[in-house]
Point group: C2
Chain length 270, copies 2
């Protein structure tokens, strides 16, 4: 007889798998945990996969091969990502967000754990099979959403700085032209990055694409491939032309005092 009931095993497997998205757990891991046979755990896995699918809570997959096992991926189902982002857009449209100079206040959204983890899942969902080794962001505002993307992909986050810091060790510094047309510095710790790996760029906002191109050129210095570039928001013009293949969640039209804020969910968000 099994030591634990199926419903107990399923609850525990769900907690363990969803707490570490995209991490592969061997069947043996759960066999030991439950003192159960492989056949039992396999059956549990099949039930769990079907249940997650039915309730649209993500996918539980069996990975075969030497490094095989089970993993959970918090995929967003058709329609859900769009509904989620429509809500965020609605928050963005509050007239009180307009700041002098046509800026929009959305720091609250960029550091809300529930919102950034939802957005991180949307980004991750596009790159599960792209062999991403790490997520790269530029300090400061994009860090929360970049961290949540890294968590969903089960890879580390690496943060580029505006200047070299003594506690980062030796660093590669580059100059780039920011969206505002100003020459800025970007610094990345040499020990943080492994040559020949693959990065995913995640950042908060793209206006002219200058910072994003800076990050691309920084990745080039390390001989690192770029799998893609994700942004919480981009201007309507930048979204199309500034960087090929960029994925902004929201597109921002004009911001003028007194006029409604023009912001919409990007077409790729399903």
């Amino acid at each position: 007889m099994d030591k634990f009931k199926r419903n107990e095993r399923l609850a525990v497997m769900t907690q363990v798998l969803t707490a570490a998205p995209n991490k592969i757990f061997t069947l043996s891991h759960f066999c030991e945990m439950f003192g159960a046979a492989k056949s039992t755990v396999s059956e549990d896995a099949a039930i769990l996969a079907e249940t997650m699918r039915q309730f649209r809570l993500g996918t539980v997959e069996t990975v075969t091969g030497a490094a095989g096992g089970m993993r959970y991926r918090p995929m967003t189902q058709q329609g859900e990502g769009r509904r989620f982002m429509e809500n965020v857009c609605e928050m963005m449209r509050a007239p009180s967000r307009v700041l002098p100079g046509g800026f929009l206040y959305f720091s609250d959204i960029l550091s809300d754990p529930e919102l950034v983890s939802g957005m991180g899942r949307l980004f991750a969902g596009e790159y599960y099979d792209a062999g991403v080794d790490f997520v790269l962001t530029m300090e400061t505002k994009g860090i929360p959403v970049a961290l949540m993307t890294a968590q969903a992909l089960h890879v580390p986050l690496i943060i580029a700085r505006h200047s070299s810091k003594v506690y980062e060790g030796s660093a590669v510094n580059i100059s780039y032209v920011s969206g505002k047309g100003v020459i800025e510095t970007m610094s990345l710790s040499r020990r943080a990055v492994r040559e020949g790996s693959t990065a995913l760029i995640v950042d908060d906002f793209m206006r002219g694409g200058g910072t994003a191109r800076g990050m691309l050129s920084m990745l080039g210095e390390f001989n690192v491939k770029c799998a893609g570039a994700c942004f919480v928001m981009a201007t309507e013009s930048a979204g199309v032309t500034a960087l090929e293949g960029a994925k902004p969640l929201m597109l921002l039209g004009g911001v003028r005092d007194g006029a409604p804020i023009q912001v919409r969910v990007a077409d790729w968000v399903k």
Copy 2:
């Protein structure tokens, strides 16, 4: 007859509850989800609570009253937090981490999603009943662990900056003396903080406690109470004297080239 089996309902409840720690879900939420009676869902909840307890995966609690329902708290059991942090200390002791000037490289640890979410759970576990309204950190390195703490507490994260930014709107700026004895500026957006609320300070490192005292004085400007101050690491001397009631996870002794790195888990970590 119920539409879904108990093991299916338990898997789904686990996913929903653990994905939003400390958030209260009403029984009705699950009744609607499953088309099940309240008595059925109550029984499910009791089984889930017992299972999580047995496997030491956190607590599932029933909250009574008008705003009542169920919530999941990722509590760390006696001994586990210490084991987890002993591992992190072991990583910290790698001689390759020593930088010129007695600095220690640990940016990789501070932005590893798995490690910072573990540390965030340890911090949150100390403050579940402290009525924390938001987590406050100072840019940049503490942002990941502060975000994960905020997620575990189900509250927003607010980030203080080194200078006013146009996209943060009007801000309160203060001057403070940093751990290095330099006068620095700290800026906090006025619209980010609600007067009379309660904050938890989370940051990466405390040397002399200057930045932490700066954050305390900033909170005073907003008439905000401070529930506590958590740090990934503090120097042995700062850990004891720099700030009353501070909770550093690790205590750092001397760092000298060639000598072993003296770092240990703080006593409060169980």
